[in-house]
Symmetry: C2
Subunit: 331 residues, 2 copies
């Protein structure tokens, strides 16, 4: 049912309802703004977190273990995730909230205009009604005066004690008054015709147009709200695949950690290349002179013949050091 | 390459590296904790937002327009979204961070134990070496003493001026010293054999075991980090379908807004059921007495015959009121 048909007499309620509609829209806009601010804070905190742990890492100049590289990848994915949520914050702010505030201003202007038009048209028809009723009353007043003159004339006519002149005078007065009545009746009729015409125009044209505009405006407000609600979900859905990629990136970073490779890297970082020391050799001071004394061949077979035996290092064919030497090296 | 083979001489570097490993793990645990705190703040803010706009609505007791119902649905979906992100915060806290801290403590204890074992074994082998070298030096010292006695004896033997008794005495002294040399040599040999055996055990068993444990511990740390990195992404992936449903719910809420239904609801809320007033009737006072005066049939045909015409309301067959009357009703 159209507002023009059903609510032609509900100006005050439509004033109230359309004001509520604007208030509701602005309340929703406020919700969108606060939703955006939450998202902005979230983005800022995520960014700061990624930055904090990223910069700390580079300062320490960590080795390129896969567990470090993957953590860097995690931080990078987190930063990307923050970036996608920032897109959401921006759309909530610029697009949704911005559009709502702009639309709310339009709505206020339109509403003001339509209700003003209604009130103006209403005032005009009321003035017309007043004029018509005033004309009607004047006609009634004059008619009552004519009735009085009629009664007086009828009384004089049957009264045997009055002069003909008095009767004639009363008759003339009545005749003059009936003339006044007829004039006032004509004025009343013209005003009544004019008013009825204006009233028909008011109800059938003016009010119909205003009510239609108010109804269209209010329906457009509902449609706008519906579209904005949809956008709340849709903007999340749009960035959702990109966000999924970030999380998959974190899973991949986890999978890239190679514990065996990392422990091999520790070997490459710290290995001296030295082999573990072999047995210490027996040095038989009792079989050689102090000047030509040499180690024995690392077997303990008691006193040996004097002579230069091959060096233990040469026997083993590799660079070997004694426990006492590597102790000095590492300390 | 195993740490036992390549890093047998890198106790200090492995001490440093495993400490770095624990520090890195704890830094990552700190990252997880801060990530969780960001999520907690986000959840709290989303919850507060939903609550704030929900309670305001019920207070105002808004009519059940579809745009209001859909906004309620949006708030409910937002609250659900916050709930799903709360699950993420809880998993980050209880599972990821909690497990990391527990594991870090185990790691610290194991590391301490392994490095302690290594140092203890190293100290023991050093003591053994010291003992062996002290025995060797004693043998050398005694041998040098024997050499001096040998030279003296040889000098006396070719000196024609010394007595046979002196020569015999020197020979006995040499003989006694050679006995001492032989005893010290035996001690040195025994200590050398023992040391070499201990040293082989140290390098081939003790150090291999400790290095293996350290390597396993360090590899387990990398594996644990990798698993935790994966979880960071996986826990988001697990709630992702539920979160998608929230966003689809918002889209559905937007689609449910029915502008036509809402404007019809305004009609149902405010309609008075009255029809617009018809034309005002001509009241001809001049044709009736003041006591029996009645409206004319709303046509302006000049003076009428006296008589009671059907009421305008009855003619139109509907409840109609005059403009002046509905004006009073609505004000």
């Amino acid at each position: 049912m159209s507002w023009a048909t059903a609510l032609w007499d509900q100006l005050e309620n439509l004033d109230k309802h359309t004001q509520w509609g604007i208030d509701f829209l602005e309340k929703y806009a406020k919700f969108v703004k606060e939703r955006m601010e939450i998202e902005q804070t979230y983005v800022k905190q995520l960014r700061n977190l990624a930055k904090k742990f990223c910069s700390k890492q580079s300062k320490e100049d960590e080795p390129k273990f896969s567990c470090c590289l993957s953590f860097h990848a995690i931080l990078s994915e987190l930063n990307d995730y923050a970036g996608h949520r920032e897109v959401i914050a921006q759309e909530l702010g610029d697009k949704l909230h911005g559009d709502l505030m702009k639309y709310s201003q339009e709505l206020k202007n339109d509403r003001k205009q339509y209700l003003q038009d209604w009130r103006k048209a209403q005032q005009h028809i009321e003035q017309q009604l007043k004029q018509m009723e005033s004309d009607k009353k004047k006609f009634e007043r004059e008619w009552k005066e004519a009735e009085k003159l009629q009664l007086r004339y009828e009384k004089l006519e049957i009264d045997m004690n009055v002069t003909k002149a008095d009767v004639e005078k009363a008759k003339n007065q009545l005749s003059a008054q009936l003339q006044v009545v007829e004039e006032n009746k004509e004025e009343y009729i013209i005003q009544l015709q004019s008013f009825n015409e204006e009233q028909r125009k008011y109800f059938n044209v003016t009010l119909v147009q205003i009510c239609q505009k108010l109804q269209e405006m209010d329906e457009r407000r509902s449609v706008t709200l519906g579209e904005s609600y949809k956008s709340l979900g849709q903007l999340e859905q749009r960035v959702s695949p990109a966000i999924s990629k970030c999380f998959q990136g974190m899973v991949n970073a986890g999978k890239s950690v190679d514990a065996k490779k990392d422990s091999e890297m520790v070997v490459q970082l710290y290995k001296s290349g030295l082999e573990t020391p072999g047995d210490y050799c027996f040095e038989d001071f009792s079989q050689v002179s102090a000047r030509t004394r040499t180690s024995s061949a690392c077997t303990i077979n008691g006193p040996k013949l004097d002579g230069v035996l091959p060096d233990r290092k040469i026997i083993l064919g590799k660079a070997r050091i004694k426990l006492s030497q590597w102790k000095r090296q590492v300390q």
